[in-house]
Amino acid sequence: MSASMISDRTLLSWLDGDPVRLERHLTEHPEDTDRIDHLTEAPQLGEQLRDAMTMPEGFLTRLSALRGADQSRREAAQVLVDLFSTAWRTAAVLFADEEQ
Protein backbone atom coordinates (compact mmCIF):
# COMPACT_ATOMS: atom_id res chain seq x y z
CA MET A 1 0.00 0.00 0.00
CA SER A 2 1.44 3.39 -0.91
CA ALA A 3 1.50 6.41 1.39
CA SER A 4 -1.13 9.15 1.09
CA MET A 5 -0.48 12.45 -0.67
CA ILE A 6 -0.29 14.36 2.62
CA SER A 7 3.12 15.96 3.07
CA ASP A 8 5.49 15.13 5.93
CA ARG A 9 5.18 18.70 7.15
CA THR A 10 1.40 18.49 7.37
CA LEU A 11 1.55 15.17 9.19
CA LEU A 12 3.95 16.64 11.74
CA SER A 13 1.83 19.77 12.15
CA TRP A 14 -1.19 17.55 12.91
CA LEU A 15 0.90 15.53 15.32
CA ASP A 16 1.92 18.67 17.23
CA GLY A 17 -1.29 20.67 16.94
CA ASP A 18 -4.20 18.39 16.11
CA PRO A 19 -3.56 14.80 17.20
CA VAL A 20 -7.23 13.88 16.84
CA ARG A 21 -7.05 14.73 13.17
CA LEU A 22 -3.89 12.68 12.83
CA GLU A 23 -5.61 9.74 14.55
CA ARG A 24 -8.44 9.98 12.03
CA HIS A 25 -5.94 10.14 9.20
CA LEU A 26 -4.04 7.08 10.45
CA THR A 27 -7.31 5.17 10.77
CA GLU A 28 -8.02 5.87 7.11
CA HIS A 29 -4.40 5.62 5.97
CA PRO A 30 -2.53 3.18 8.23
CA GLU A 31 0.14 3.04 5.54
CA ASP A 32 1.33 6.49 6.69
CA THR A 33 2.32 5.07 10.07
CA ASP A 34 5.77 4.05 8.88
CA ARG A 35 6.36 7.55 7.54
CA ILE A 36 5.61 9.27 10.85
CA ASP A 37 7.47 6.55 12.69
CA HIS A 38 10.52 7.39 10.62
CA LEU A 39 10.02 11.17 10.99
CA THR A 40 9.92 10.95 14.78
CA GLU A 41 12.54 8.26 15.23
CA ALA A 42 14.66 8.68 18.36
CA PRO A 43 17.36 6.00 18.08
CA GLN A 44 18.88 6.38 21.55
CA LEU A 45 15.64 6.84 23.44
CA GLY A 46 14.98 3.18 24.27
CA GLU A 47 18.45 2.67 25.69
CA GLN A 48 18.30 5.93 27.66
CA LEU A 49 14.89 5.05 29.10
CA ARG A 50 16.09 1.59 30.06
CA ASP A 51 19.05 3.14 31.88
CA ALA A 52 16.81 5.64 33.62
CA MET A 53 14.43 2.91 34.82
CA THR A 54 16.74 0.38 36.41
CA MET A 55 15.20 -1.89 39.01
CA PRO A 56 15.93 -1.31 42.69
CA GLU A 57 18.53 -3.57 44.32
CA GLY A 58 17.07 -6.97 45.24
CA PHE A 59 13.78 -6.36 43.43
CA LEU A 60 13.57 -9.77 41.75
CA THR A 61 14.55 -11.58 44.96
CA ARG A 62 11.76 -9.78 46.84
CA LEU A 63 9.26 -10.69 44.13
CA SER A 64 10.29 -14.32 44.34
CA ALA A 65 9.97 -14.29 48.14
CA LEU A 66 6.53 -12.72 47.77
CA ARG A 67 5.34 -15.77 45.84
CA GLY A 68 6.38 -18.07 48.67
CA ALA A 69 4.74 -15.84 51.29
CA ASP A 70 1.55 -15.59 49.26
CA GLN A 71 1.32 -19.37 48.91
CA SER A 72 1.86 -19.86 52.67
CA ARG A 73 -0.85 -17.29 53.41
CA ARG A 74 -3.31 -19.08 51.13
CA GLU A 75 -2.54 -22.46 52.65
CA ALA A 76 -2.98 -21.07 56.17
CA ALA A 77 -6.30 -19.51 55.19
CA GLN A 78 -7.47 -22.82 53.69
CA VAL A 79 -6.58 -24.67 56.92
CA LEU A 80 -8.67 -22.17 58.90
CA VAL A 81 -11.61 -22.53 56.52
CA ASP A 82 -11.38 -26.33 56.74
CA LEU A 83 -11.11 -26.21 60.52
CA PHE A 84 -14.15 -24.00 61.05
CA SER A 85 -16.30 -25.68 58.45
CA THR A 86 -15.74 -29.22 59.72
CA ALA A 87 -18.53 -29.01 62.29
CA TRP A 88 -21.02 -27.70 59.73
CA ARG A 89 -20.07 -30.33 57.19
CA THR A 90 -20.37 -33.08 59.83
CA ALA A 91 -23.79 -31.78 60.92
CA ALA A 92 -24.93 -31.59 57.30
CA VAL A 93 -23.97 -35.24 56.76
CA LEU A 94 -25.68 -36.35 60.01
CA PHE A 95 -28.92 -34.47 59.33
CA ALA A 96 -28.97 -35.65 55.75
CA ASP A 97 -28.76 -39.23 57.04
CA GLU A 98 -31.58 -38.61 59.53
CA GLU A 99 -33.84 -37.16 56.84
CA GLN A 100 -33.35 -40.28 54.76
Binding site: Q48, M55, S64
Partner: protein
Protein backbone atom coordinates in the same frame (compact mmCIF):
# COMPACT_ATOMS: atom_id res chain seq x y z
CA UNK B 1 -19.83 -12.24 28.17
CA UNK B 2 -16.64 -10.28 28.57
CA UNK B 3 -15.93 -7.70 31.21
CA UNK B 4 -13.28 -6.17 33.35
CA UNK B 5 -13.32 -7.05 37.01
CA UNK B 6 -12.33 -4.52 39.68
CA UNK B 7 -8.95 -6.18 39.78
CA UNK B 8 -8.33 -4.91 36.27
CA UNK B 9 -8.25 -8.46 34.98
CA UNK B 10 -10.16 -9.44 31.90
CA UNK B 11 -12.62 -12.19 32.67
CA UNK B 12 -15.09 -14.07 30.54
CA UNK B 13 -17.01 -17.29 30.62
CA UNK B 14 -15.98 -18.51 27.19
CA UNK B 15 -13.90 -21.65 27.04
CA UNK B 16 -10.24 -20.81 27.13
CA UNK B 17 -6.93 -22.53 26.80
CA UNK B 18 -5.56 -24.07 29.94
CA UNK B 19 -3.48 -21.56 31.91
CA UNK B 20 0.25 -22.14 32.03
CA UNK B 21 1.41 -24.62 34.62
CA UNK B 22 2.91 -23.36 37.89
CA UNK B 23 6.43 -23.89 36.68
CA UNK B 24 5.81 -22.05 33.41
CA UNK B 25 4.19 -19.21 35.30
CA UNK B 26 7.14 -18.92 37.69
CA UNK B 27 9.55 -18.70 34.77
CA UNK B 28 7.37 -16.29 32.86
CA UNK B 29 6.96 -13.99 35.83
CA UNK B 30 10.68 -13.99 36.58
CA UNK B 31 11.25 -12.96 32.99
CA UNK B 32 8.47 -10.38 33.08
CA UNK B 33 9.49 -8.86 36.43
CA UNK B 34 11.63 -6.08 34.94
CA UNK B 35 8.95 -5.20 32.36
CA UNK B 36 6.27 -5.08 35.05
CA UNK B 37 8.46 -2.75 37.13
CA UNK B 38 9.15 -0.42 34.18
CA UNK B 39 5.46 -0.18 33.26
CA UNK B 40 4.63 0.59 36.89
CA UNK B 41 7.42 3.16 37.14
CA UNK B 42 6.35 4.83 33.91
CA UNK B 43 2.92 5.41 35.41
CA UNK B 44 3.59 6.20 39.07
CA UNK B 45 7.10 7.76 38.70
CA UNK B 46 8.08 6.78 42.24
CA UNK B 47 10.44 3.79 42.54
CA UNK B 48 9.05 2.59 45.85
CA UNK B 49 5.42 2.92 44.73
CA UNK B 50 6.38 1.18 41.46
CA UNK B 51 7.73 -1.75 43.46
CA UNK B 52 4.48 -1.93 45.44
CA UNK B 53 2.55 -1.91 42.17
CA UNK B 54 4.77 -4.67 40.76
CA UNK B 55 4.18 -6.82 43.83
CA UNK B 56 0.43 -6.23 43.70
CA UNK B 57 0.50 -7.14 40.00
CA UNK B 58 2.24 -10.43 40.77
CA UNK B 59 -0.35 -11.32 43.41
CA UNK B 60 -3.21 -10.56 41.00
CA UNK B 61 -1.59 -12.65 38.29
CA UNK B 62 -1.22 -15.64 40.64
CA UNK B 63 -4.77 -15.20 41.89
CA UNK B 64 -6.36 -14.78 38.47
CA UNK B 65 -4.25 -16.96 36.21
CA UNK B 66 -7.15 -19.41 35.80
CA UNK B 67 -9.07 -16.58 34.14
CA UNK B 68 -6.40 -15.97 31.54
CA UNK B 69 -8.28 -16.39 28.25
CA UNK B 70 -5.26 -17.17 26.14
CA UNK B 71 -6.40 -14.95 23.28
CA UNK B 72 -3.57 -12.52 23.92
CA UNK B 73 -0.04 -13.37 24.97
CA UNK B 74 0.63 -13.87 28.67
CA UNK B 75 2.99 -10.87 28.49
CA UNK B 76 0.27 -8.55 27.20
CA UNK B 77 -2.20 -9.83 29.81
CA UNK B 78 0.28 -9.37 32.66
CA UNK B 79 1.36 -5.90 31.53
CA UNK B 80 -2.27 -4.90 31.25
CA UNK B 81 -2.78 -5.85 34.88
CA UNK B 82 0.42 -3.97 35.80
CA UNK B 83 -0.87 -0.85 34.06
CA UNK B 84 -4.30 -1.01 35.70
CA UNK B 85 -2.81 -1.61 39.14
CA UNK B 86 -0.39 1.28 38.67
CA UNK B 87 -3.11 3.69 37.54
CA UNK B 88 -5.16 2.72 40.56
CA UNK B 89 -2.22 3.26 42.93
CA UNK B 90 -1.42 6.60 41.31
CA UNK B 91 -5.01 7.76 41.85
CA UNK B 92 -4.89 6.70 45.49
CA UNK B 93 -1.58 8.52 45.96
CA UNK B 94 -2.99 11.68 44.37
CA UNK B 95 -6.01 11.53 46.65
CA UNK B 96 -3.73 11.31 49.68
CA UNK B 97 -1.27 14.04 48.68
CA UNK B 98 -2.38 17.61 49.28
CA UNK B 99 0.86 19.36 48.33
CA UNK B 100 1.69 18.76 44.64
CA UNK B 101 5.40 19.05 45.42
CA UNK B 102 5.10 15.83 47.41
CA UNK B 103 4.35 14.05 44.13
CA UNK B 104 7.59 14.96 42.41
CA UNK B 105 10.26 12.31 42.79
CA UNK B 106 13.94 12.10 42.08
CA UNK B 107 15.33 9.97 39.30
CA UNK B 108 16.08 6.45 40.56
CA UNK B 109 19.79 5.85 41.12
CA UNK B 110 21.34 4.43 37.97
CA UNK B 111 22.98 1.05 38.28
CA UNK B 112 24.38 1.08 34.77
CA UNK B 113 28.03 1.47 33.92
CA UNK B 114 29.84 4.29 35.69
CA UNK B 115 28.57 7.49 34.22
CA UNK B 116 30.19 10.79 33.65
CA UNK B 117 28.66 13.81 35.34
CA UNK B 118 27.21 14.74 31.96
CA UNK B 119 25.69 11.29 31.54
CA UNK B 120 24.04 11.50 34.95
CA UNK B 121 22.77 15.01 34.24
CA UNK B 122 21.32 13.84 30.94
CA UNK B 123 19.58 10.96 32.71
CA UNK B 124 18.07 13.37 35.22
CA UNK B 125 16.92 15.61 32.40
CA UNK B 126 15.25 12.66 30.68
CA UNK B 127 13.56 11.76 33.96
CA UNK B 128 12.28 15.32 34.36
CA UNK B 129 11.11 15.39 30.74
CA UNK B 130 9.05 12.26 31.35
CA UNK B 131 7.20 14.24 34.01
CA UNK B 132 5.81 16.50 31.30
CA UNK B 133 4.09 13.54 29.65
CA UNK B 134 0.80 12.14 30.91
CA UNK B 135 0.91 8.63 32.46
CA UNK B 136 -0.66 7.00 29.40
CA UNK B 137 1.90 8.50 27.01
CA UNK B 138 4.73 7.45 29.33
CA UNK B 139 3.42 3.89 29.35
CA UNK B 140 3.11 3.89 25.54
CA UNK B 141 6.64 5.14 25.01
CA UNK B 142 8.10 2.63 27.48
CA UNK B 143 6.20 -0.31 25.99
CA UNK B 144 7.34 0.60 22.49
CA UNK B 145 10.88 1.91 22.98
CA UNK B 146 12.03 -0.26 25.88
CA UNK B 147 9.82 -3.35 25.73
CA UNK B 148 9.77 -3.29 21.89
CA UNK B 149 6.10 -4.30 21.73
CA UNK B 150 3.99 -4.04 18.58
CA UNK B 151 1.42 -1.24 18.28
CA UNK B 152 -1.33 -3.86 18.41
CA UNK B 153 -0.04 -5.40 21.64
CA UNK B 154 0.34 -1.97 23.23
CA UNK B 155 -3.25 -1.10 22.26
CA UNK B 156 -4.41 -4.31 23.91
CA UNK B 157 -2.27 -3.92 27.02
CA UNK B 158 -3.41 -0.35 27.63
CA UNK B 159 -6.94 -0.84 26.31
CA UNK B 160 -6.79 2.10 23.90
CA UNK B 161 -7.41 2.36 20.13
CA UNK B 162 -4.54 1.63 17.78
CA UNK B 163 -4.35 5.17 16.27
CA UNK B 164 -4.15 6.57 19.80
CA UNK B 165 -1.14 4.37 20.54
CA UNK B 166 0.59 5.79 17.48
CA UNK B 167 -0.13 9.45 18.07
CA UNK B 168 0.80 9.19 21.77
CA UNK B 169 4.06 7.50 20.88
CA UNK B 170 5.04 9.92 18.12
CA UNK B 171 4.17 12.98 20.21
CA UNK B 172 6.02 11.63 23.23
CA UNK B 173 9.10 10.91 21.15
CA UNK B 174 9.10 14.42 19.72
CA UNK B 175 8.59 16.02 23.10
CA UNK B 176 11.38 14.01 24.71
CA UNK B 177 13.77 14.52 21.80
CA UNK B 178 13.11 18.27 21.79
CA UNK B 179 13.74 18.53 25.53
CA UNK B 180 16.96 16.53 25.33
CA UNK B 181 18.15 18.56 22.33
CA UNK B 182 17.47 21.81 24.16
CA UNK B 183 19.37 20.51 27.16
CA UNK B 184 22.41 19.64 25.03
Amino acid sequence: VTGEADSGVLVDDRPHEAPPTGVDLEDALAELGPSIYRVALSVVRDPSLAEDAAQETMIRVWTNIARFRGDSSLRVWVLRIAHNVSISMLRKRRDQVTDPHDMSVEAPPSKGPDRTAEGRAMMNELWRSLDDLDPLSRAVVVLREVELMSYEDIAEALDIPLPTVKTRLFRARRQLATKLEAWR
